[in-house]
Subunit: 228 residues, 2 copies
Amino acid sequence: MDTQAPEGISLAVSTVIFALRPHPVTGLSTLWLPLVRRTRDPFAGKWALPGGWVTPDESLSDAAARNLLETTALEPTYLEQLYAFGDVDRSPDARVVSVVYWALVRAEEAERAAEGDNVGWFPADELPELAFDHNAIVDYALWRLRTKMEYSRIALAFLGETFTLSELREVHEAVLQKPLDPANFRRQVEGTLVPTDHVVTGGRHRPPRLYRYDESIELVHNGPLAHA
Amino acid sequence: MDTQAPEGISLAVSTVIFALRPHPVTGLSTLWLPLVRRTRDPFAGKWALPGGWVTPDESLSDAAARNLLETTALEPTYLEQLYAFGDVDRSPDARVVSVVYWALVRAEEAERAAEGDNVGWFPADELPELAFDHNAIVDYALWRLRTKMEYSRIALAFLGETFTLSELREVHEAVLQKPLDPANFRRQVEGTLVPTDHVVTGGRHRPPRLYRYDESIELVHNGPLAHA
DNA sequence: GAAATAGTGTCTTTGAGACAATATATG
DNA sequence: CATATATTGTCTCAAAGACACTATTTC
């Protein structure tokens, strides 16, 4: 390995941010993500993933978190590296390697997100044609989220401090796009949660118990990579 | 996202290469990996993962494959991106982001690998202190390999065109470091393999059948990322 | 035939999933 | 009490694992 690194490659970070919102047609809870409208070429006018350059004094995950805050004003509850995309021709007239992260934000957090001319929210499965290779990147992020939902406790990142089992189940149903049996779902997750002394009254039915997540069990198992 | 990317960050690729060889003490098949001795500072004299800079005209995976061939003369049967490491202080006096790949090579291929003053093979679980954050990187690669071995057919990348079920089982045992029941193992993999008409004679026991891997089933499920 | 591994059969346990039944709130 | 969801109970099925048993080669 030579001492001199060749010039000519720019390093960027982008983030695929997921939040749950009601679908405009069906009303069911579904995955949405915020996109940023590009103001310059290439792909001026097109929607793209929020992102930016990495500065020399910040780590990759710091750069992702900073960009995310600057462009969408969002602070995610979960942030994980997705993949480094580095095909030669993925950006016209430039060589850009993008380290892409994916993030989950709570519904409340997503509410107060900046939405203006330059930021828009879209259902994750009904995206327009995006700039660069960003459609493919979102597809991969969706696959990772759905895969991980089946074997980890990542769903909790969409919820607040306490929640009912119905709320947790609805998160799973929204992400996996299929109904889950309430009885069986309960048994699968019950051991990983801590029941509180509170229930939610007000519905015209038996009030559900509130649960808290067990901090002694980590959300995801990323092996020796404890951080992000 | 600004038009100008800040300078000052170098982009490198490194690869964690795994091969199976007999353990020098126990004689059992175990994981080994080739390391390169550094000839310059920082960490001159230390062992490090093979790697180098990414040039503007090659993709990340191309860069990984090229570097691997140049430094160790190896051509892997499997190559997958592991993670992008980008902490600010991971390289002294420089800012280097490394996109790390991991690779599997067959025993025969590993045989003819360059081994000299600058390349050495080590048992994966008994490494010396490496340059940079490479010990942590190897730990993560080992975790990924072992995790993936349990739910994919990645073990086949260690073997040739045809193989016996014992050979396949030995690969699993070597990587997972635990004995597996031959009868149960057979049932788990049988459906994903194609039996040939040949058996291996010569041992002082019933000759085992040779199998071929079923090309219609992909080695690993990486979702929308078909390539590497 | 003895030894050694290949390969088959079977039993137990575990977890997922389908679905019935009971519990407890509101209106 | 009707309704709606919460919660519990039970049955079936499939996969994993332990382990006994049979098969076929070489020496």
